[in-house]
Symmetry: C2
Subunit: 245 residues, 2 copies
DNA sequence: GAGTGGTCTAGACCACTGG
DNA sequence: CAGTGGTCTAGACCACTCT
């Protein structure tokens, strides 16, 4: 570490924070990959020249933040976007009666490159000539279409994704495996809207029906905005679940 | 504490957890009240016969859980539902352009006692003859009605509340002060619905308009369900904000 | 300056997992 | 059994706040 003694006030940053950032960087750089095990607390302590307790505090903070997960008697691992974790953290639509045990199937309607409007450019911090990938999908439960998804990705981070002809139902795991992009935090904004003609056709509903629109901005481990997603759900038999603490 | 040495496996509960529960109980019993300062770490350690580090771990866990808050150089305090914290934790409606800096005013329409249906009884675990208080309000921003609220409270926990003629805009602070009930966790379920006639009249909107309906179940510190609330919002200029981590 | 929480260390021991 | 994370302790020192 830089210095064992904490710095004088204004620049003061605890040792364990520095350790935390250092570990995060190594994960971002791909030195430690999702699913892999980190060295033990004592090994890391020796490696970084701090005490085991300090390393522990950093590791626990990162575990709290879902960057790592720990199993007593086994080790500390870099979090992976397994289907289970995805569902828990990033998929909040639930069936009204009983739960949705799995992620609803997603049928791909279209992938294309578009020229971003000012809104998308602002979101991604794009240069004006960079293209954006648009993915259009529809999710179904029991063969009934219920959620229409429009997904926007900056082409620079997702090279050649637009050439795929099939995509997995859970994109976040795919982003992680294929592009080393881990969706870490997201902001959802919810509104009630009326179904437009396209919604009516795709979701097979009458005109004048209300839809739950979820507008998501997702950020990766290093803080970049990597995805914008608009989901329009027929909330007849669905709801969006939020736990407040 | 009961025993310094951790128990053999199946009953094993860490010391700091026991300390945590003990402190929580004292808060529930009203021995330490919202806003009040707890004894210092060392005093608590002496009091409970554990080390300061163990007390610290318990206090930090409770801080993480928003039961306490700590200020370096000052002390550890029992959390209070100040307007600020309320807004941050339990009021997630935001204005589309710019933020809502304050809680929108709430105008009381009606308070009455009702006989709970089976749904409400199941929620509150009520005996069948206990009444429920129904509060009907409407919130406005810039003198424009935007959210209609129907609030249900078990009468047993909120004695004589139905006799009030005026209620504060933020009820959670009031529950805490007047009834020693701290809303600690809540579950929101969101749907898009069409405005019914009553909605149209109260929110001053045309028929066929979509509303964002938020159905909340709120639990107190000791885990009892203490409030059910249905908010119907005109999401024309509003959205419901969720941060995912 | 006195008192609080925050950081860091060092060491002992316990609980859990897997070979 | 060896190796991992989890708990608990004790003590030193730092940063912050208030008076």
């Amino acid at each position: 570490m830089t210095d064992k003694a904490p710095q004088p006030s204004p620049i003061f940053k605890p040792l364990y924070k520095q350790v935390q950032e250092l570990i995060t960087e190594r994960i971002i750089e791909g030195i430690w990959k999702p699913g892999e095990m980190l060295p033990s607390e004592f090994q890391l302590a020796d490696l970084l020249g701090v005490s085991q307790g300090t390393v522990r505090k950093a590791l626990n903070a990162l575990t709290e933040d879902n960057v790592l997960f720990r199993r007593q008697g086994v080790g500390t691992f870099v979090s992976e976007h397994t289907l289970q974790k995805m569902l828990f953290h990033f998929f909040h639509f639930k069936s009204d009666n009983g739960d949705i045990p799995e992620l609803p199937n997603a049928q791909l309607l279209e992938i294309r490159l578009i020229t971003p409007d000012t809104h998308l450019r602002a979101l991604f911090g794009n240069s004006s000539n960079e293209k954006v990938i648009e993915i259009h999908r529809v999710r179904s439960i029991n063969n009934t279409a219920c959620i229409r998804e429009l997904i926007y990705l900056p082409q620079g981070y997702f090279v050649d994704l637009e050439k795929e002809e099939k995509l997995p139902h859970s994109l976040y795991h795919y982003y992680q495996q294929r592009f080393n992009i881990t969706v870490h935090k997201a902001t959802d904004r919810l509104k009630a809207v009326l179904a437009n003609e396209q919604d009516q056709a795709i979701l097979n509903i009458a005109s004048g029906q209300p839809l739950l629109e979820v507008s998501r901005t997702a950020r990766s481990l290093d803080g970049r905005t990597v995805e914008h997603r608009i989901s329009r759900a027929n909330s007849q038999d669905l709801h969006y679940l939020v736990e407040l603490n």
